[in-house]
């Protein structure tokens, strides 16, 4: 069985949490004692039905305010697939939390209120989805029951949204008209919208293919830890432990060690003492090389003929995530896999107005601001363009004064 990770994004009253509650409820994923807790909490909708939103609002402050502040992860499965939902906040104040949830998603569900249509927040959420390179978007036009299940409303929103995404980098967009509150087109086809010929939400989630064609990734293996038992039985054992983040490695492959550039050959790939011929994308293994080289945490093994950029200077899209604004005179730290090194912000290329998508030269980067910046790091980094390999093109910025994660970096290209 495979696993689909998706986020749900929408603005405050789009019914996002209700949609998730409905999905869980209709797939029998809510257990009796959890339902009982909801009933105890006594939050009801206007028509007297249970408010399913309370299922995802896990913090006291969220329940008090009736809004989602931080990402909540929910898990359910059907006979066909397992799902991890990252329920992300829609409010602009919590954009960074949406970015957190979006970083590992294969699919984004964007909710649009049928009565309101495409609004500023839709634009912002879609921009973040494209920035984080989530391959697929599903637009759920919600609250169809409040517009009399009118086909024209759905068609107008669909066309508006298609126009909006013309300038965004999104691989595939689909549309479903739903009512999360009434359960229309959620876990079964709706009888209220005979004009709609597509599938319903759950079936879509069970069958969607988020694998991007033409994006064959190159093999990358960041070394996390060196295993050296140095015991009487294993005096010379030296294994490089890490996780493959793109492509695959085979025993016998010629590899380069970055950033040093030394080369060697893979003699063995191990998982829990068993030898494998191939380490595929995503697997955590131990790799052995033919030569004794100086390799430690922070180094990366790549195939000899598939090398990434190795550079100290690069441009990256960034999302600022700290309440303290960006200070261009400050030296920050960048964490990229197992490597952490000092980094300078050399030049602010531009900032994007996330609501209009216009680029501005405003140099002030505060909480939730997005733009492009030129960086220079103290040590060279081995990276790929984020759009080609998220894991090897994504990094975080840390403020060394308080150790907080202050920005997400999506590396665009090396500039030197």
């Amino acid at each position: 069985m495979d696993l689909l990770k998706f986020i749900t994004a929408g603005s405050v009253d789009d019914g996002k949490s209700t949609l998730i509650g409905r999905l869980l409820y209709d797939t029998d994923s809510i257990l009796d004692d959890q339902l009982e807790a909801i009933q105890r909490a006594n939050r009801k909708n206007n028509d007297g039905t249970i408010d399913l939103a309370i299922l995802t609002d896990g913090l006291k402050a969220e329940r008090e305010q009736g809004i989602t502040i931080d990402v909540a992860y929910k898990y359910f499965q059907t006979d066909k697939r397992k799902f991890i939902i990252a329920d992300t906040p829609g409010h602009i104040q919590y954009t960074r939390n949406m970015v957190t949830g979006a970083s590992n998603a294969d699919l984004a569900i964007i909710l649009i209120d049928a009565r309101k249509g495409v609004i500023e927040q839709t634009r912002r959420h879609s921009f973040i989805v494209s920035l984080l390179a989530i391959p697929n978007v599903l637009v759920c036009v919600n609250k169809m029951d409040m517009v009399d299940y009118d086909e024209a409303v759905f068609a107008k929103i669909k066309s508006d949204y298609e126009q909006l995404t013309e300038n965004l980098r999104i691989n595939q967009v689909d549309f479903i008209p739903v009512s999360a509150l009434k359960g229309d087109n959620i876990a079964a086809p709706s009888a209220n919208m005979p004009w709609y010929e597509g599938t319903y939400l759950l079936n879509f989630l069970e069958t969607v293919d988020t694998h991007q064609p033409n994006t064959e990734q190159q093999a990358r293996f960041p070394v996390q830890w060196v295993i050296r038992p140095q015991t009487a039985a294993l005096p010379d054992y030296r294994g490089y432990a890490g996780r493959v983040v793109g492509g695959s490695f085979n025993v016998g492959d010629q590899v380069a060690v970055l950033p040093s550039g030394f080369s060697s050959r893979i003699t063995q790939i191990e998982l829990a003492g068993e030898s494998l011929n191939t380490a595929e994308d995503g697997i955590s293994v131990v790799i052995h090389l033919a030569d004794d080289l100086d390799i430690s945490r922070g180094d990366m093994l790549v195939k000899q003929d598939e090398q990434p950029a190795v550079s100290q200077e690069f441009e990256a899209d960034i999302c600022w995530m700290d309440t303290k604004p960006l200070d261009i005179s400050q030296v920050y730290l960048i964490q990229h896999h197992g490597k952490t090194t000092k980094i300078k912000l050399q030049d602010i290329r531009y900032k994007v107005d996330v609501n209009t998508l216009e680029k501005t030269t405003d140099g002030h980067f505060g909480l939730n601001d997005i733009g492009k910046i030129q960086f220079k790091s103290a040590d060279p980094l081995a990276f790929d363009e984020y759009a080609r390999n998220k894991s090897n093109g994504g990094a975080i910025l840390i403020d060394s004064r308080n150790n907080l994660t202050v920005a997400a970096l999506m590396i665009a290209k090396a500039t030197a």
Binding site: L31, G58, V99, V245, E280, S284, H336, T340, N403, A408
Partner: protein, 296 residues
Amino acid sequence: MDYLDQLEAEAIHILREVAGQFENPALLFSGGKDSITLVHLAEKAFRPGKFPFPLVHIDTGHNFPETIAFRDELIARLGEKLIVGYVQDSIDAGKVVEQKGKNASRNMLQTVTLLDTIAEHKFDACIGGARRDEEKARAKERIFSVRDEFGQWDPKRQRPELWNVYNGRIHKGENVRVFPISNWTELDVWNYIRRENIKLPSIYFSHERNVITRNGQLMAAAEFLNMDHEDIVEYRKVRFRTVGDMTCTAAVLSEAFEIDDIIEEIQQSKISERGARMDDKVSEAAMEDRKKGGYF
């Protein structure tokens, strides 16, 4: 990759990040299935080398004897170091006061012993087996969860956590709680235990024992429960879905003798795993409040 392979690979990656980023980490071991799974994953992450951390058990003194026997056998097989923090020591030192009455439990007292043990050994990271599907406050917690010098979790000040990059930088005195199996569900853990043939304490499987009914839950009849004449002892066929302290872990009636039966039982169950935990029933925000106070 199959989903269990994906979950395994993610957990191993997280464990190795702990080894790489911290000076003095520890693995919190309760003797329950989740921490036993963590130990199995640590073997996959670090063998044939030694674990780069000791196992730490916070012992309430009210454990199931089966759990302690299992723990000691496991440690002997692994050849790794075990550190035990005793709640009794915190009580004897006057740092905490034992609860009184029928529903008295040392569950809340554990937090003090845990924080003292962390301080005594200067642990900068503590690996735990908590999962996001267990409870709604846990559903909100990061994989690397920074605790301040008082051990407190501040849900409003969580660091953004992106891709597979975990920021473990802290100031002296702070520590990070790390949850490698955050994304596993109860069923995932059981399916993994079956696939990997992981040994568990016997109380997870159906067995006969004396139980009493308290607040609608079946509790093992033990001296720690302050039983009196109102408690009617019955001999029933039960098993435990979670293994904590005897005073807060309820049993379920069960005929599940084998892992296959347990998986079948969980799939049919209409009650969540933590539905049998008295400690979560105190209030709507019981877990959030305990975490803010420094709990696991």
